[in-house]
Each structure stands twice: as C-alpha cells, then as structure tokens.
Symmetry: C2
Subunit: 320 residues, 2 copies
C-alpha cells in the first residue's frame, strides 16, 4: 500500500458490509479512519434507542462482534430478553444482555441532553476503538418502507418481516429536519479520500447523502480533487447480505453492479467491482468512473485488510 | 388457622423481612393479601427506575427470588452489568440481566405516562402473583440519611457504603408532595386486618405511614375495630438483617423489641414477639398492645407459612 497509513479516509457506511470494510480500513489507517454511518435504521425498543448500523460497526471495530451471527456481540446471552418477553414486551428485535448495556447508556446520556454524536464517541472510546464512527446526524431519521401492506418502519420490514414484502417506495422520516454535524463536516473537509462501503444504496447510503448539508460538503471536497471510491455490494447480480438486489429491482434499477454504478456514477471517481463481475467493467467505465476489479468478498480479517489495502492504494494513486 | 383464608389483610412492608412474611401470608390468603410497600428506597440507575423493596417482594411472591443472596432473581447473571461497567457506568448497585428487564419495562411504561401503581400491577401480573403489591405512593419519595459525612441518599448509604456510617437523622424527600393512592385507600378500607412486617421502623415503615392520607385511612379502619398487628424485626437486641438495631440506637431508641414496641404502641393492637424476647412481654403489654410470643424467624417456606398462620389466627380471633 502506497503510504495509506497517512491517509485520512471517510467511509460512508450502513451495517454489515460497512463494518467489514471499516475493519479492514482501520487495520491500515487507525484513527485516520472516520466512518459516517446511516442512522435511518435506528429504532426504539423497550424505551431504549438502538442504533443497529452504528453498533454493528462499533462492535466490529472493537473486535467483539459475533461473526457466527453477523450481528451482536460475541458470547452474547439473552437472559434480559427472556424476562422482557415474560413481561409481555415484543422481542422480535432480539437484544442481547451485553448489547442492551449499549442502548441503556446511550438512552441515559441522550436523555441527559447529550448529542448522539457525543454519546457515540463515549461508547466507542470505552471500547477502545481507534477509528471514529460518526452518526450521519444527531436528529432522528427513520427510514420507512412502502410495501403492498402499506408503510412499515424499517426494522419491522427488515427484522420483523424478514425482508419478505416487496419494497415499492422508501421514505426517510426526519431527514429534512436533520443537519450534517460539525464532526461530519470537519471529517469530510480533512479527508484525503471518501469510500462508499458495499452497503445498500437505498437503505444505507441514500439517507446519509440526504442529510441536509452533507452532499454539498462531499461535492466541495471532490471539487478539490479528493477521490471518491464506491464498492459494489452486489456481486453476480446478488446482494452478499440483505435485500439490496430485490430492492434495486423493485425500485426499477438493474440488480447488478452496473445498476449500482449507475446510481453512484455522477459523483464517484472509482468503482470497485468484484472479479466475478469483470464483464461489467466497460459498461461502468462508459458511465464515467474508473473501475478497479478485485476480489471484494471480505470473509476473514485477511480479506478485509486486503480489500481495504487495494482500495487505499487506488485512491492514494489518484491523489498523486 | 381460624378461617384465615377468607381474610383480607394489608401488610405494610419494606424489603426482605416484608417479603418473607408476605410469602407466608400469600400461601394462606392468595389474592386476599395486599402489600403496601415502601418506595423510599427507590433509585435511578443507568436512567432506569429501580424499586428494590417492591421487586424483592415481587420476586419472592413469584417464587423466583434468589435465596442464596437475599436479593435479586434465582439463577441471575450479570453480562449487562459487566458491559455497563466497561462503558464507565457506576455499578456498585448491581443489577442482574433478568432484574434489568424489570427496570427497563417499568421505566418505559412510566415515561409513557402510566402510574407507578399501574406499572407495578402489570409486572406482578406478568409474573403470576396472587397477592397485590401496592407502592405506598405514585409520586417519587427518596429517603435521605444524615451521617457524619453529611446527607447521603438511601442506597448510597445502604449498598454503596454498606451501612457503615452512623445514622444521625432521616429525611423522606418528596413525601409531603405524595398522596395515598386510591388503591391503597381502597385496600385499607376493605381490610379485615393490618399487619406491620418485621421491617425497619424508620427506613421502611415510617415512610409508608408518612404518606399524606395514609395514616388517617389506617386510623379510620382501626376505629371500626379492624385489628393491627406488628412483628418485631429486632430479636435479642439485633436486627435479623440490615442496620435497624444500630439505627434505633443512634436515633435515641432502645435497640430491642421493646424499643420497636414503643414506636408502634400508640396505634397497634397486637405485638408479635420472638420467643427469645419473651421476657420483654410484660413491659410491652404495659404500653398497651397485646403480645403474642412465637418463633418469628422465617428461614424456610414452612416457617414463613407457620408465622403467617399464627399471626392470622391471632388477628382473626380479635375480630370475633
């Protein structure tokens, strides 16, 4: 990697795919990595604020994520959840005992008047994370999903209904009243590169870009020559995890890396394509971005670090 | 027992001693038992409302209390608490994973506008308790303890400082603004007998009696001939549990069952004395109340049921 360790990189990310890439990037960049995370998936459970995307990334960067499940904390137990169920609480959104502590502390601090960004920094600091994870906004944003059953809030669709209903339309409640935080603006202003994670373009990346003030800040750094790279979360026409392929299709897009590239092309300099999709490279290049073809599946620590290194080399090369 | 099963009994109670007696009484009375519980020990931890006396009684009546510890839930685990500590939360007041669910549900419902009494009924119903446990008031009351180090809130003194400091004075913050609830007034109005648990006269019973409207309601039922019995929590000059003996002494009372009897004598008809203190019976009778001498230590289920039966027989006999 060409001097990647001195780079300051901002990653725009949703949950699992964003976490894997962040883990690889953190291994190279340490505190040079800032992750701006989607908060549209956030929800209240049992009176506590849960931030699934933030916490997935936080636990992953802290090395305490549960890799068998793809969510939650390693060695997690569910004694609280059993008791909550006994009290008649809905527990379809399963919260482990350790995970619950995160939401308890977050909720207490928010009620005491702290900003979500400040609370997140406290949690991350306690877990000893090198990188910083910034909520895309302090104000609540709640993604809503229109299905043939009507509008569902995101986690009801995603966890409660297991992504079964077809997605007809998306709405980001609260987004218009949200504001890009000083921390996000500052991180973007100092960035040497921006990397869009292999996250869902509509459920994870669109809400981030929709935060008032955030897109102009990205455009401003890009106009200074700061490269923006995006990694496709669709490989061989399928999402590695989650419903991104079906959502692309049901919203009228092509459910391929090319479909993703069409969405990002207007503002992205480099599109990272999995080797399995190499045949799509000419069509993507024709849209504008350069294309980097590599193996993008991040199964283990080594793969995460390798993908991150490849992306960092490519963006560092573009800065020269 | 003489027709005790048809009696409606109100028990005034603090935590552990109150729970043991309540367990014995519930075995005979089922839903004929109403426990009015002290809330002066309540506290906020991690932004959640904890009601230690209520919960000790609730867990005991549900048969899920941890008898090895004398607090909390059987088989309890502490994964959440470990994580809370990692986040820098003070965890000297140790909350187990199952116990935490109680406080989470309570706090959520209170924030949604429910009364403490209603929330408590929901929790008890979920755990399948026959008796009802009524908080002495819906409004927050917080017992404060003056020591040579100054005023401490109750749990800081009781758990945080392990009752080490000498108690110079007590204060029940919020008591003047509290009101006897309709449920407590109704239970007292229908009571065939009132039983004061072997709880701390100052820390547990005094706050209950101090709730505006509660003492007049007790006086009214007593004036109708409803018997009031009290059980000494001091045996052989020592509290079975907790600092009652030292608090009696430091507040200028005799740290014996006679000292307790002097406090209750003006409004109690029957004083239940442990066999070990039989020599005190004449002095207590001279204060006014009848005295019932029996073995009052409630070590196991059989002892709890036996003590309860003895008390119920005595109060039933007084009604004839």
């Amino acid at each position: 990697m060409a001097d990647g360790s001195a780079l300051r990189v901002v990653e725009l990310a949703g949950g699992v795919g964003g976490a894997k890439l962040a883990h690889g990037l953190q291994a190279h960049l340490g505190n040079g990595l800032t992750v701006v995370v989607n908060t549209g998936d956030d929800l209240e459970r049992h009176g506590l604020l849960v931030c699934p995307d933030h916490d997935t990334i936080m636990y992953t960067l802290a090395g305490i994520d549960n890799r068998d499940w793809g969510w939650g904390i390693a060695g997690e137990t569910f004694a609280s959840a059993e008791m909550l169920a006994r009290y008649g609480e809905e527990t379809w959104f399963r919260l482990g005992d350790r995970d619950l502590a995160t939401h308890i502390v977050r909720t207490r601090r928010l009620r005491a008047g702290e900003r979500l960004t400040t609370v997140a920094a406290h949690l991350q600091g306690a877990l000893g994370i090198a990188a910083q994870i910034l909520p895309m906004a302090d104000e609540p944003v709640r993604t809503q999903v229109r299905t043939d059953e009507g509008w569902l809030d995101f986690q009801t669709y995603f966890v409660g209904r297991q992504q079964a209903p077809e997605v007809r339309e998306l709405r980001y409640d609260g987004l218009a009243a949200a504001r890009a935080t000083p921390e996000v603006i500052d991180a973007l202003a100092k960035a040497d590169a921006i990397v869009v994670a292999p996250s869902n373009p509509f459920l994870s990346v669109a809400p981030i870009l929709g935060v008032p003030g955030l897109r102009p800040a990205i455009d401003a750094v890009r106009s200074r020559g700061v490269p923006i790279a995006a990694i496709s979360g669709i490989i061989g026409g399928r999402a590695l995890k989650g419903p991104a392929d079906r959502i692309l299709a049901s919203l009228g897009h092509e459910a391929t890396a090319l479909g993703v590239a069409r969405i990002y092309a207007p503002w992205v300099d480099l599109f990272v394509l999995d080797a399995a999709d190499e045949a799509l490279a000419p069509a993507i290049r024709a849209l504008g971005p350069d294309v980097l073809v590599t193996d993008t599946i991040m199964g283990d620590d080594a793969a995460r670090a390798r993908v991150a290194a490849t992306v960092l080399e490519a963006v560092a090369a573009r800065r020269r």
